[in-house]
Each structure stands twice: as C-alpha cells, then as structure tokens.
C-alpha cells in the first residue's frame, strides 16, 4: 500500500482535520516561528499560545529547566493579550491552510467570557481551546480545572460567549480526571484535550534555591507520556465527545498510543523544541504505519485498543 494513499483525516465533532497532528499551545508560538521548518498547512491544526484579556508579561526567569526526559516550565502564561493578538497575529494565521485553535484562559469567569467574546464571528479562528488549569482568583488559587463544578461553569461561560466549537483542556493534577471530563461534557463542550502539564519542581542543590523563579512549574515531555495515555484512555471511556491526546509525543509511535487508546487527534508540545520537524515526521510516520498495516483510513485504528 502506498503511504501517500492513506487517509489521515479525522473529525473533532464539527471540525474536520486533514490529519490528527496539532501543534500544542505554548510550544509553537503563533505558528510563524517554525514556519521555515514546518509549513503550517501540513499540520492538522495549530493551537496558539494561551491568550488572556490583558497582555501578560509572565514570570521572572529562570522559566524553564530540563528534567529527566522532560522539562518544567513556569512561563506564567505570558502573552500579548487578546487585542494585540487579533490585530497582529490573526491576519497571518487566517491565511493558513490549517485549523487554528485559540487557547484562552482567565482567572475569573468574566475574563473567560470576555476573551471568548472577542473572537465571536472572527474569521480564521476555527475553535477555542479553554485552558482551565489556571488558578481561580476567587477560589483561593485552586485551579478551575480541579473542581467539576467550576470546570462546568467555565465551560458554560465560554459556550455562552462564542459561536466557535469549544474544546476544554483538562489538567492532570486531579484525583479523578473522568469526573471533570464528565462535568465538562455535561456543560456542553464539543471536545476535550488532555493533558496539560503536571505540577513539579526542581532544586539547585548548589544554591539551595528552586530552579524556577516561580518555585514550581509544569512538567511536560516524554516523562509524562504514560500518565497522559492513561488519562486519555480513562476519559475516552467516560465521555462521548471527542478527545485530543497530549503529553510527551515525540514520534508517530507515541501518537499511535493515544490514537489507539481512543484519542481522535493529538497535540505535540515539547517535541517541537527537541525536534522542530517532529510534527511532520509524525504525520509521515502515521502514513507509513497505516500503509504497513494495510489500513486505508487512520480513523479505523482510533480506539481499537484490545484489553
């Protein structure tokens, strides 16, 4: 079978992707930074860096530190704010032949509403991805995404402020991610993406100071893949809406772990740093895998895990 003949198309509810490989939020800039290496049109989609109502400078450095097979980041959700994003970044994104997901966040429900509203009717934004891992300032800093009720309320707030499909991005830092997933589904989300980073920290034993100025940060990369695959596996079995798998994907084989477990698409984050061509190689690898196995459509392997 010719790998070029394999149909990699996948659907996330109303969204049709040419292939299941999406660049993850915060790791691919606004799409332009890698464009000399990765033609954006070759991707299934791009999720831009998390956008808030106001511009945010982010945390003091150091913001990143390498850990075994992973990295911690405490960027602090630095971004140019929704207004500048729409003015400066969206026109270019609009020209791309790929799905553009805008990742949004807030620290209050109204902030989520306001950011979501800003994209109402705007061309070039195919979906919103809602980051609910952010601390909720009204609830003593516990993340929105750690409480099913709050997660549902954020979901409703965004849904009521937008005409775009809404994907809610779940945090892994919870006792039972399926509870959150079910609450978000019941609130009407079109899809789920998981996982966001796992809370972690590292210490410089020479200075006896945390390696991140922010003390703790989010762990990403291959180290967390087993945790992500398991959470995706569990969530897929608890909800009906489509799930995007994220966490430590470096190669096609890794993406397949998620797809076979039931994810309809995947996002590639840290791997972009390790190998800027990772997304392209994963797409090619998926083609080769299907061809080798005689599978005409990638969608035929989604959720085929034998247990």
């Amino acid at each position: 079978m010719d790998p070029r003949g394999v149909d990699l198309g996948t659907a996330l509810g109303p969204l049709e992707l040419k292939n299941p490989v999406i660049a993850a939020s915060g790791t691919f800039g606004y799409g332009r930074e890698y464009s000399s290496i990765v033609p954006p049109g070759s991707l299934g989609g791009i999720v831009v860096k998390g956008i808030s109502l106001e511009p945010k400078a982010g945390n003091p450095p150091p913001r990143i530190v390498e850990t075994p097979s992973g990295m911690l980041n405490a960027i602090g959700l630095a971004n140019i704010g929704v207004e500048a994003f729409i003015e400066e970044k969206l026109p270019w994104l609009r020209s791309l032949d790929t799905k553009v997901f805008v990742n949004i966040y807030g620290h209050r429900l109204e902030e989520y509403r306001a950011v979501a509203s800003a994209f109402k009717g705007l061309e070039g934004v195919d979906a919103l991805e809602v980051n609910i891992s952010c601390p909720n300032v009204d609830k003593g800093g516990m993340a929105f995404g750690t409480d099913p009720g709050m997660a549902a309320r954020v979901t409703e707030a965004v849904l009521s402020s937008t005409d775009k499909p809404v994907i809610v991005k779940l945090t892994p830092n919870v006792t039972d991610i399926t509870e959150i997933a079910k609450a978000v589904e019941a609130a009407g989300a079109h899809g789920l993406s998981l996982i966001n980073t796992i809370a972690g920290m590292a210490v410089d034993v020479e200075t006896r100071m945390p390696r991140l100025a922010n003390v703790w940060g989010g762990l990403s990369g291959p180290a967390i893949r087993p945790v992500a695959v398991y959470m995706v596996y569990r969530v897929v079995r608890s909800v009906k809406i489509p799930v995007i798998g994220i966490g430590g994907i470096l190669e096609a084989r890794d993406a397949l772990e998620f797809l076979i477990s039931g994810a309809r698409a995947v996002q590639v984050g840290t791997a972009n740093f390790v190998n800027p061509k990772a997304t392209l190689e994963i797409i090619q690898g998926l083609r080769d895998y299907c061809a080798r196995k005689g599978i005409a459509k990638l969608s035929q392997i989604i959720g085929t895990l034998e247990t």
Binding site: G26, P60, E66, A78
Partner: protein, 263 residues
C-alpha cells in the same frame, strides 16, 4: 531570517584548554549564513535524556558550511559531547538569534570576554581588522586560557587577565578593561562582551559611566531557540515597554542599556 535544521558531521573535536573543547562541524547545507553573535542549538543524542537542545555560539565559520563551536564541559550534555568522535553526527538548528551590530565607521571595537564567553568574540574578531580591535579575555587561571592562534588570530593580539595572576593581568577582566579604557579615553569605542552575568553587569556599569555603547551577548535557559516558548526571558530595563526580552529571538546580543541588570 531563515532557520535551518541540518545534519552536522563532526570533523574534529578536541580539548583546547581545561574542560574546554573545540568542535568542528561540517553541515549538510551549501551555505550557512551565520553572523558573529549568532548561535546554534544541538541535539546531542536521539534518546530522551538529555532531552532539550544545547545552545552554543558560533565560534568561527571556516568554510561556507563548516563551523566551529567552543564549549565548556559543565553538565550532562557537554559531557556526552566531549566523548564524541569524528564522523559522529549531531542535529543542528540555526543560525539563531541576532548577532553583534557595527562597529560604526571610525569606532574601534573592544571585545571583552569572561571564560567561555570568548567563543562568540572569536568569531567577531575574525571579521574585524586587527588594528580596529582590542581583545581582552579574562579567565580564572592559565590553564583555562584558549590560545588565540587556534582560532586564527595572532598570538599577541589578545590581552589576558587571570583571576589568579597566572597569565597576563592579575585580576578581573573588568579591571583590566577599565585600565585599558583609561589609556585610550580619547578614542571612540564600541564595546562587545560575553561572559558571566556578574561580569557583564559590571561592564555595563563601566560603559554607562564612560558613556560607551556596549553590546552584550547573554545566556539563558532555552527550550526552543526560535521565540516560540518564551522560556528564555530576561528582564528589560525600565525604559522599555515589554517587561521581558527573549534571549533567543530578541538577542542573544543586546545593548547593555536595554537590560535590567538587577532583574
């Protein structure tokens, strides 16, 4: 700016000073358009530890597709690098960042390095005429000193300062720099420097006092190297609207007055 991802074949890799190595890389590209001050990011192994690429300044461009980097062995990645043999291959991303500017016509360049910070300045020196340039290199001790001849500079062209006095001026390179300044106050100077943060901070301060334009090449922990992750932040001086620069895409070379040296 065109960033490329290319295979880099090790053409040579050997020690040039204590814990300091020079690696020559033949790139699988026709022409590598790199300017002094720019850097590359290397993926050392295919495995996931070390995971991230390592950043190294370009130390020289000896053919259109052959570069040298000079590195100090400090951790896991550089330890693996020093044991790599000729013919082994690394994956290189580059050229990255914005290099040194100028000097303006009529200005003499003063290059000041601390330790391995000498690497990008070697490249810069190779592009300047010897009589337009003064190169002051600081090291801890004699055994750290990289002989300028190895990089094609004349042996006598670099002034040394060592902290223990075992070679050249006995003291900090910033002191030697200030002493040299006092000799040449009449001249129009453009200062370029690279080294540890505390040294750059001192230099920035001296240049501010002497009203000299000073360009510094900074380091910062990096993930992407291309401006996509916002990891490599450095605080901008109060006069600037953005609170943080990204060392990889806004720098690594900055005007010293743009940086908040307390931040």
């Amino acid at each position: 700016m065109r960033v490329d991802l290319v295979k880099a074949h090790i053409a040579a890799n050997g020690s040039v000073a204590k814990d300091t190595y020079l690696m020559e890389l033949r790139l699988e590209t026709e022409e590598f358009l790199a300017a002094p001050g720019q850097f590359v990011m290397l993926r050392i192994l295919d495995t996931t530890d070390p995971l991230l690429r390592r950043a190294f300044s370009i130390c020289s461009l000896i053919k259109p597709n052959v570069i040298q980097i000079m590195y100090r062995v400090v951790g896991k990645g550089t330890r693996l690098m020093k044991d790599m043999k000729e013919e082994e291959t690394l994956e290189l991303l580059g050229p990255l960042g914005n290099g040194f500017q100028g000097p303006e016509r009529g200005k003499k360049a003063v290059l000041v390095s601390g330790g391995i910070g000498v690497a990008p300045l070697f490249f810069l020196a190779s592009r300047l005429k010897p009589h337009d340039l003064k190169f002051i290199a600081g090291y801890g001790s004699k055994e750290d000193v990289v002989p300028p001849g190895l990089l094609g500079l004349e042996e006598g062209s670099v002034l040394f300062a060592t902290e223990d006095g075992s070679c050249g001026y006995h003291g900090l390179v910033t002191e030697l720099f200030e002493a040299e300044l006092n000799k040449t106050l009449s001249r129009q100077l453009q200062v370029y420097c690279c080294g540890p943060w505390e040294m750059l901070k001192k230099l920035a301060h001296i240049c501010y006092e002497y009203d000299l334009d000073c360009q510094v090449s900074l380091e910062s922990a990096m993930a992407c190297g291309v401006g996509a992750c916002q990891g490599c932040a450095v605080k901008a001086s109060a006069s600037y609207p953005p609170d943080y620069f990204h060392v990889c895409s806004h720098g690594p070379v900055f005007s010293s007055s743009d940086i908040d040296w307390e931040g």
